[in-house]
């Protein structure tokens, strides 16, 4: 399987893997930053990615100051893309990213082919954690769906996946689907959440559950699935503070459908094969302030880097990745980036993106994005270089379901010698 043996289709400055919200934004920004030959590779028949099945509104509040549906949000980017001479290949599956060389892909039109490029932007998004990863015991009937699969069936195929529904996991897609299925006439019995807090955005709990009288059962999980052809019932149980089911709390709920909204996993199979170092906390790449991975010339952004709550921030992050990829491809900016400051997730912080900064070459200000480990009220988000607090924000409340941001300015890191990390913490107000 020597990539060189495969026919070479074309050469590009920047190739973007994935034509969803991240890929579209990255490609536009790469072109605008001076890369003249930009390519987007998309496996579906159309661009837009998962936005195409998100027909609810709420997209674009930050980016455009208005509430758009998913397809409307995607359409804006597709229009902007179309106004630029950016190449798009749909129905094209990337098989391999070869560092320093390019990309191997397959499509019905071109067969297996390769393209050469100077920089690659990884924008493959994420997948949903399936039932098997939770090891829910019981039978394996029809009627157990991930929330996203159910969303596709309802919104794209126009069919209902069930009538009596229990949803496990209060991630945003699960909450959105609770409302969507209710609007289509199904009966959503409850949403059960393993943790003592919801994994979704507050606004989704209010608009999708509270407004429809759908109960949210915190500290609950599904411990059994029954049914031969189709699901006939599930068993719920309370969990203790170590998340183990408490014997005697089981409740059997007759239903025909179990939806799972139990976590999203970045799709990094291509990245791993390309030698990109993966952060076990995010399951995405380790990146620096230019969103470049451990492999030179390979950048990552959007949900393949870390799972976001809002598409607006995906677009913003991806634009930065596209711009940096273009600069890399055009040979602008020396490869000597000076000392690197490692960014460390300290008390109360699960991870940070990026995980290193180059004070000499980084932009004037960089946004650190991260998640907290638990619910915390009246607190501060702070970044320390040694004992010096270089950035801080007060917050009334932080929850793991909502991504946090903190800006760090290059000038504040000027004195850093590289041996001292920048530590991000949640602390008392």
């Amino acid at each position: 399987m020597r990539p060189e043996a495969i026919s070479r289709l074309a050469d590009y400055d920047v190739a973007v893997v994935g034509g969803g919200s991240a890929g579209l934004s990255a490609a536009i920004a790469a072109y605008d930053a001076g890369a003249t030959r930009v390519l987007v590779l998309e496996r579906d028949v159309r661009l837009g990615g998962i936005l195409n099945q998100c027909i609810h509104n709420g997209f674009g509040l930050h980016r455009f100051g208005e509430e758009l549906t998913g397809p409307e949000y995607a359409a804006r980017y597709e229009r902007a893309l179309g106004e630029r001479p950016i190449d798009v290949m749909t129905q094209t599956t990337v098989l391999r990213v070869v560092p320093g060389q390019g990309i191997v892909a397959v499509s019905p039109e071109h067969g297996v082919f390769r393209i050469c490029c100077k920089a690659v932007v990884l924008a493959m998004g994420c997948r949903e954690r399936p039932r098997g990863a939770l090891d829910i015991p019981g039978t394996r009937p029809a009627g157990v769906f991930t929330a996203g699969t159910a969303q596709h069936l309802v919104n794209v195929e126009g069919v209902l996946p069930g009538r009596e529904v229990v949803i496990l996991g209060s991630g945003d897609i699960g909450l959105i689907m609770a409302r969507r299925l209710t609007l289509e006439g199904a009966h959503v019995r409850c949403v059960a959440e393993l943790m003592p807090y919801s994994g979704g955005l507050k606004r989704n709990i209010v608009q999708c559950l509270d407004d429809f009288g759908i109960p949210l059962l915190l500290s609950h999980t599904v411990v059994g699935v029954e049914g031969q052809g189709r699901v006939s019932a599930i068993t719920l149980a309370k969990v203790d503070d170590r998340l183990r089911p408490i014997p005697g709390t089981e409740e059997r709920i007759p239903c025909d459908t179990l939806l799972l909204s139990v976590g999203l996993l970045p799709e990094n199979e291509l990245s791993r094969e390309a030698g990109v170092r993966i952060n076990p906390a995010t399951r995405g790449a380790y990146v620096d302030d230019s969103l470049m991975t451990s492999v030179p010339g390979v950048f990552a952004c959007g949900n393949v880097l870390h799972v976001h709550d809002l598409v607006d921030f995906v677009s913003e992050e991806a634009a930065h990745a596209g711009e940096c990829a273009a600069r890399y491809a055009m040979g602008d900016g020396s490869t000597d980036t000076g000392v690197a400051v490692t960014v460390v997730a300290g008390d109360g912080v699960r991870y940070t993106v990026p995980s290193s900064l180059h004070p000499r070459t980084m932009p004037e200000a960089v946004t650190l994005r991260f998640r907290v480990t638990g619910v915390r009220e009246h607190c501060r988000l702070s970044a320390y270089l040694g004992n010096e607090r270089v950035s801080t924000r007060r917050r009334d409340i932080v929850v793991p379901g909502e991504m946090q941001e903190l800006k760090v300015r290059a000038e504040q890191l000027a004195s850093a010698g590289g041996d001292e990390p920048l530590t991000v913490v949640v602390e008392g107000a």
Binding site: M1, G111, P137, T139, A142, T149, L160, G229
Partner: protein, 491 residues
Amino acid sequence: MGDPTWDVVVVGAGVCGCAIARELSRLQASVLVVEAREDVCCGTSKANSAIVHAGFDAPTGSLMARLNVEGASLFPQLSRDLDFAYERIGSLVVCTREEDLPALRALLERGRANGVPELSIVGRDDLVRMEPNVSDAAVAALWAPTGGICDPFDLTCALAENAAANGVSFSLNERVTGLHRLPDDTWGVSTTRGTRVARVVVNAAGVHADEVHGMASIQPMKIVPRRGQYELLDTTAGNHVRHTVFALPTKMGKGVLVTPTVHGNLLVGPTAEDIEDKDGTQTTAEGLARVREASMLTVRDIPFRETITSFSGLRAHRPEHEFAIGEVPDAPGFVDCAGIESPGLSASPAIGRMVAGIVRDILGLSEREGFVATRRGFPRLDRISLEDWDELVRKDPAYGRVVCRCCRVSEAQIRDACRRVPGARSVDGVKRRVGATMGRCQGGFCTPRIMQILCEEVPDLDLLGVCKSGPGSELAVARDKDGIGGEAHEA
């Protein structure tokens, strides 16, 4: 129902029923396979360890031992003829205590007596070289290079397709409900679809073989469903072991096996629980916990967080723990192929030969001309070279449309699976034939697309009719805003 008199009706389209049918298709006989479920390979054959055992386990002189060793020796040629996934990766039986070494040596001697070739005992140093993640407690192992792994779906479908290509008929969704002798010494086979007439009936009904046996004979037979639960890990964990690793059965317990699969996953299991319910294929929290715990006996650091699914299957266990194969004395023309539990998959090619031989002798059948021994398999896009994949796309662009991203299955293979005889009629039928939905996302992304393709390929099927497996497992219940909560809305 105007049905002909069949020379042979085979009850059950598991791996044995299909192997028997294929061997019978070499003969001048009309053969019908009736299967209660919606597809071939729906019972014991679909959920097991997928191991081709070398043959050292069964007692020397038993039918199990003989057919296992013979079956295992047939696999390499059969896998070439029928183009199914099989790899002779070898197996290790790991001994973790010095005091159990005599038992390991006894296993070696039994294997040699059974006729298993190339057996040897390897010491700890060699063992660690062969299997770096073997348990720290491992002291030695029995090495059997002829042990292998296969894809039981692929094997069973290949046997069925090849049998069909050689003239065997299949009737699915047809359950046998009774047997009676007719005045002309043929058998009347009552089914959920009417009555079939057969000169010989072969009972290959898996966990239901005792019921079918009881319809023909007054001699008692008992099959106990023995449940085995498994954990299947992502391909990222597939290299954790390189061979099939068994635990030496000791007083401490039987242990579970840890093995790579032909798809590059890691499989851990099974438990062994005797149950009553012949549909009792549910997993349990205790069972899965036992699998994880028992695996640690022989292999360390198994990354169970990479688990993508768990499942369980039922072995057709007879208390005698021996295959029951042969014409039943009080039921002339009725041939049992019952109690086929492990190593039944390994023995299946030999079982097919043996049962076909019995039928041939009863009916005095001779070979027919024109038997085609080979069958075209499905291309494995995750295994073939990029050049070969490119060739496929040139011939059929649908090979360039990847539907199942996790296992790299294209639209072309899915359509092909639907067009085979017997072909895929459900999402699971597609999965069994070409592996789509078997990967890390477990069909999250590709299920809707597979449903569409099924509708395009299967006559009179629409999205509401598409099933995960058999009837009653429909994936969608209604059109949007249609028939729910009372009256349908206007379009």
